[in-house]
């Protein structure tokens, strides 16, 4: 352990390219708030950023235990950042359990900031340290630099003039940590000061106390002379433009809303609360002045069926859920498919099967999205690659649904849904128009034929209220063109093929697949989809810099595939498909293209680290 008592009058300002901080503590310690404040401040400063909150499924998990540890990992740098970081440079441990649960994630030589009040006998016992052995005192942390701070005591001291009760005083201890880190990384506190003033606008006393503790944390670093080094992480060379910070679920909500506006449609959002998708409902419920009709339905089935009912009436119907809820929507998805009405279904995936791991991430619902229905019921599937990409993917889901009169699956997951990163936001003018195939006149002489298709295979959308277009639709097989019930064998086969062709033709309206990084041919292609983007991007970038013949192809469109995908993949000797599941996309690639793609699977409820990708990729070069 470094002797932090050595007095060095001169402060060193050390430059760092990338820093990863992991805030960890009890789920009631304000960890998520501390992390997001540091994130917003660093984003505003110009760093590139990626974050990963990791919290327990229980709302108030037992205090002081490993199960109750809440974490917020933040990766920020002066270079481009694609993941929340594999291992961290700084671990903030508010108690013993937080240290025990996360010490493996700290780099050798990394810094532990330990709140010593969280290492008393009770906390050591709750964390499961044998005989209440204190890791801060037994030299077991020799590989790291440990900064012990009596945060509780210093917080109370900072508030000795305050009339607040002890409990309320203690509640602001997260601000001490934040202030200290702001000092350590040369950050401006203005944004957090503004945040606190707004958050506690109704109680000036709390504004005062939190600001006092925040400043005390900063001044502690500045004045105690025990800390010799401050770090500087310069702004990242990001593309020019205007930025904001964006969370994945928030981006889904805003993307859906923007697309509805560009299509000239009201947005109907039917939803039943479920982790980790509920934030989409919360966000959309705030924007009623965009003519958003958000409806908290009685169950997952009503959530999707109400959305289909709304689509029939001319809104763009949307529902979102996570795996178990999506399972309940299966029958209605088949109906939307045979009705040929627009509908967007967002799956913010979590660990399964069944209730599985509600707060952990996974990509194991791809097969469910592709095939989880009775009968031949093809539904387009697209996936978001990062928090900010949730915006474009949600927008695209609405475009496909509306312009091709079909339900569309958008896959996200807990990792990107709750993660955040800077987003170069668009203006409304930059977004493309979406053209719904609405019809106001009969389309065959004086008659209206609800299933008369255009060249894309798309039927017209006739909404109730228009005289002359009265028609009936339903889940029974329908006759081509007229839509009347038909049990005719030839007609059924024809309709199955017509519906499939319509989806296949979507491939003509989506961009050709591009290689994200590396040449279009070579020894190894890493083919990824969804939230594995960042880890693969980081690994491939490193390997290319070192001269490996490796390329990265990342899919947004999984069904239908971009029409040049097979040709691209055939340009490589090997294809590796990393997924947070037991091998799903890899099976599709193998069966569709007869390409001997190899899986890399991780099913631990956690994202890939870039080193895991890299270690496996290197095996193709032995």
């Amino acid at each position: 352990m470094e002797n932090i008592k050595t007095k060095v009058p001169e402060r060193i300002n050390e430059n760092k390219k990338v820093v990863t901080i992991l805030f960890a503590g009890d789920s009631g310690d304000g960890i998520q708030l501390t992390g997001s404040q540091f994130t917003n401040t660093s984003a505003l400063f110009g760093n590139d950023i990626s974050t990963f909150p990791n919290y327990p499924a229980e709302i108030r998990a037992p205090q002081g235990t490993i199960a109750g540890v809440s974490g917020f990992q933040l990766n920020f740098g002066s270079i481009e950042i694609f993941t929340p970081g594999d291992r961290c440079d700084v671990l903030v441990a508010m108690n013993a359990a937080a240290l025990k649960a996360n010490i493996d994630k700290l780099k050798i030589g990394g810094t532990i900031i330990a709140n010593i009040a969280g290492f008393d006998k009770k906390n050591l016992k709750l964390a499961g340290y044998l005989d209440q052995r204190n890791p801060l005192e037994d030299n077991s942390l020799g590989k790291y630099r440990t900064i012990e701070i009596d945060i509780a005591k210093l917080t109370r001291e900072a508030l000795k003039e305050s009339t607040l009760g002890v409990k309320e005083k203690d509640r602001s201890k997260n601000m001490f940590v934040l202030g200290f880190l702001y000092w350590m990384y040369n950050r401006d506190m203005a944004l957090t000061e503004k945040f606190l003033k707004e958050k506690f606008a109704k109680s000036p006393e709390l504004v005062e106390s939190n600001l006092a503790v925040l400043k005390a944390g900063y001044n502690y670093g500045d004045t105690s002379e025990t800390f010799t080094t401050r770090y500087e992480v310069k702004p990242a060379p990001m593309p020019k433009g205007n930025y904001r910070n964006m969370m994945g679920n928030q981006a889904v909500a805003i993307g859906l809303l923007a697309a509805a506006q560009k299509a000239g449609l009201a947005l109907f959002y039917g939803s039943y609360p479920i982790t980790p998708a509920s934030d989409i409902l919360h966000e959309l419920s705030k924007h009623k002045n965009f003519n958003v009709r958000s409806f908290q339905a009685e169950d997952e089935i009503a959530a999707i069926t109400s959305a289909i009912g709304a689509s029939f009436a001319g809104d763009i119907g949307v529902t979102a859920s996570s795996g178990p809820g999506i399972a309940l929507k299966g029958e209605a998805l088949g109906l939307a498919c045979i009705l040929e009405l627009p509908l967007v279904v967002v799956n913010v995936q979590r660990g399964g099967p069944s209730t599985g791991l509600p707060t952990k991430t996974e990509q194991a619902d791809l097969m469910q999205a592709l095939y989880g229905r009775n009968g031949e019921a093809p539904i387009p599937v697209i996936a978001a690659s990062s928090p900010k990409d949730c915006f474009d993917t949600a927008f695209e889901a609405v475009r496909i649904a509306v312009e091709h009169m079909t339900p569309v699956f958008m896959l996200s997951d807990g990792y990107i849904g709750n993660g955040a990163e800077p987003w170069r936001y668009k203006t409304a003018d930059e977004l493309p128009e979406i053209k719904p195939p609405l019809i106001r006149e009969p389309n065959q002489g004086d008659a209206f034929m609800p299933y008369l298709r255009d060249e894309k295979g798309v039927r017209p959308w006739a909404i109730p209220g228009i005289a002359g277009l009265e028609h009936r639709i339903g889940g029974l097989e329908k006759e081509d063109v007229t839509g009347n019930i038909s049990y005719d064998p030839d007609n059924h086969e024809k309709m199955v093929k017509l519906r499939a062709e319509k989806i296949d033709k979507i491939a003509l309206s989506i961009p050709l697949q591009e290689t994200d990084n590396g040449y279009d041919t070579g020894r190894l292609c890493i083919l990824s989809w969804g939230s594995t983007y960042g880890a693969v991007k980081t690994a491939v970038k490193e390997m290319i810099d070192e001269g490996y013949s490796v390329s990265h192809i990342h899919l947004r469109y999984i069904f239908p595939f971009p029409r040049n995908l097979e040709k691209l993949l055939r340009g490589f000797d090997h294809v590796m498909v990393p997924e947070l599941n037991n091998g799903q996309l890899v099976k599709i690639v193998r069966s569709e293209f007869l390409i001997d793609a190899k899986p890399l699977n991780k099913i631990m409820g956690l994202p890939f680290s870039s080193s895991e990708i890299r270690d496996e990729a290197e095996k193709f070069f032995v």
Binding site: L257, F290, S306, A313, I463, P464, G465, R472, G474
Partner: protein, 345 residues
């Protein structure tokens, strides 16, 4: 001179689609279809503003036979589809067509939530006390002991009382009619349509193939006078062959009295008040199966309960309106930008 162009008065035929009706010959559904097609021109709604939504089952073929907008959806979910439809366009006249299996078994959840939210729609529940389309299994309204293909030793299920269920879900319009009494059915349908809120109309419907005569005791001319009671708001409850019987409310107990034995007159009878929740609930509980002697409390038909309560879709659109008033029409650029931004030069 002012030229007034009036739309021609629609007739029941205008509401019939060209589809061949495919219920079994003799099915009670034919009568219900006819009564609905009859009242729609009378209530002055345009075809294009009418939507029929059904679930699955024999009754759910109904929308195909109506020359309006329609959706034959999936089993049990019609009220949920209708909820979304009503939110998207509150001006539509929406009719949910459902059966006892559809509404009370697989779709029980959606029924009760539609009732409590009180969307302005009409739910016609065709109750035939049997599963017809799947060929004769017992349903949630089949009486205990019912022998069917799935209950060879008799059903051990306790049946639902659909009206009491609707009252439990705080339905705002609760009524009962039957296929064999077209006039009364039309009256109830008219009032259901007129009511702003979720109107539940339970319609006894004879399945002449799998459950013929299930309601025979209420429809047979020899028995119906003693077993049925047609309730009218503000009127005393009188029934019987010669209007010779009446229903009194003694405490909370309905009691049948003879109007000819000199003990009671019409003035002593229970006068129906459809706005009285507590009395209506007692009336809904008059649900006993008439015995051989036909002496019990008769089965009431008509509008049991009616209450004015705000509709969900109106409340939602009021919130949307308030949001526009408070914040102005949403500015997409401002939303995309958010509150904390920075610029990379």
């Amino acid at each position: 001179m002012t030229a007034i162009t009036e739309k021609p008065q629609l007739t029941p035929k205008d509401f019939a689609s060209e589809q061949e009706v495919r219920w079994c010959p003799g099915c009670g559904d034919y009568s219900i279809l006819k009564q609905v097609q009859t009242i729609l021109p009378e209530i002055g709604v345009e075809r294009e503003n009418v939507v029929f939504i059904s679930g699955i089952g024999c009754s759910s073929r109904f929308p195909y036979y109506m020359n309006t907008y329609g959706m034959h959806s999936i089993h049990g979910r019609a009220p949920a589809f209708a909820s979304g439809l009503k939110i998207a366009n509150p001006d539509l006249s929406v009719w949910v067509i459902t059966g006892d299996g559809d509404a009370l078994s697989i779709g029980g959840n959606h029924l009760i939530h539609a009732l409590r939210r009180n969307f302005n729609l009409n739910i016609l529940l065709f109750n035939n006390e049997i599963y017809g389309l799947t060929k004769g299994q017992y349903s949630p309204t089949s009486p205990s002991g019912k022998v069917t293909s799935s209950t060879p030793m008799g059903s051990i299920d306790h049946p639902f009382n659909p009206l009491a269920l609707a009252a439990g879900a705080d339905g705002t319009f609760i009524s009962r009619a039957m296929d064999r009494d077209p006039k009364q059915l039309r009256d109830v349908l008219r009032e259901a349509n007129e009511h702003k809120g979720t109107s539940l109309v339970e319609i006894y419907q004879n399945c002449n193939v799998f459950n013929d005569g299930a309601f025979g005791v209420f429809t047979d001319k020899h028995t119906k006078a003693n077993t049925t009671l047609f309730i009218e708001h503000g009127q005393p409850m009188i029934f019987g062959e010669n209007q010779n019987l009446g229903l009194r409310l003694e405490g909370t107990t309905p009691v049948v009295v003879d109007l000819e034995d000199g003990k009671f007159t019409k003035d002593d009878l229970w006068v129906h008040d459809k706005y009285d929740r507590f009395k209506a609930e007692i009336l809904m509980r008059c649900f006993e199966t008439p015995g051989e002697d036909l002496q019990g409390v008769p089965r009431p038909f008509g509008v049991f309960y009616r209450e004015d309560r705000a509709c969900y879709e109106d409340l939602l659109h009021n919130q949307i309106k308030t949001s526009y008033e408070r914040k102005g029409a949403g500015d997409l650029d401002a939303l995309l930008k958010g509150t904390n931004t920075w610029t990379i030069e």
